[in-house]
Symmetry: C2
Subunit: 156 residues, 2 copies
Amino acid sequence: MAAKDNDLLLERQLCFGLSVASRSVIAAYKPVLAPLRLTHPQYLVMLALWEEAPRKVKDIGAALLLEPATLSPLLKRLEAAGYVTRHRSEADERALAVDLTPAGAALREQALSVPGTMMARLGLDRQSATALHQSMMALITAAAQADSAVGSGRST
Amino acid sequence: MAAKDNDLLLERQLCFGLSVASRSVIAAYKPVLAPLRLTHPQYLVMLALWEEAPRKVKDIGAALLLEPATLSPLLKRLEAAGYVTRHRSEADERALAVDLTPAGAALREQALSVPGTMMARLGLDRQSATALHQSMMALITAAAQADSAVGSGRST
DNA sequence: GCCTGTTAGTTAGTGCACTAACTAATTGAG
DNA sequence: CTCAATTAGTTAGTGCACTAACTAACAGGC
């Protein structure tokens, strides 16, 4: 009983910490991304496109673990901002090819300073950032497995 | 140049990892919290109230690092669910005292099993959970400092 | 050439989470 | 006591992020 009561407190520092950390870090990005006219999720999409473009919506969603329903309006806002184009693929009319405009491609130069600025803002060196990244990836993997195990047999 | 290009990739694994981990873990909570009829943010508010009730809205916001504008509709939904009451404080009519209903207090018993279930789902032992928590708290602190430093003098 | 089933995106609706603007109550200065 | 400044919540509006339901386009079998 007492042990479980403590768990309820510890708990509040685990999942709770993750949520708050995520929100806090995103908030810390905000002023840095403001000159680029990007929100944090938009920034992540642009990163994906700077690595490879054009890309299909489904492709971006797979890279960022986002539903197409989330990306659809987000991409329209990026198009309205003049950073990307949205055209149906000629090969497959179902697929939507998202490509960078010259302005979107040029934005990458400004974005190059973002990681360094953020590392400094968060007081992280490359080592601790890497360690953190590994913890996050482990969590993501575990959560994905837990998710896929929902439907199947759960012992107790 | 090449170093900065790499940063742009590494970056994608840092802030990106944090966002995805947060979303993934919250998604993993969803089926566990569903029987309690709580979303994850609502669960966090209930945790705060199980620790101490009644509490004022501002108080809850300070504990969870949430704006009152975020809590206001959330608390109304918890009230509609029958878990909390919302009454203006007699001492200070501006303040809203949020208290547990019997149903809300009773829900705690069901919630006791949540932390253990989630630790198992995420493959975490108490040690790694604690380590993770410390990393998160450090990030939160750093982000808060970065945030407060925006207005003041920034060298470089 | 059709019909069935699948796949890619979009739309609708719910719920956070934030900022800005507002209302109402309290406090403090004079 | 009265008025200005502060404080606590609420409302309005924007943007994620999800599920469910829908449209359009492709793919295979017949």
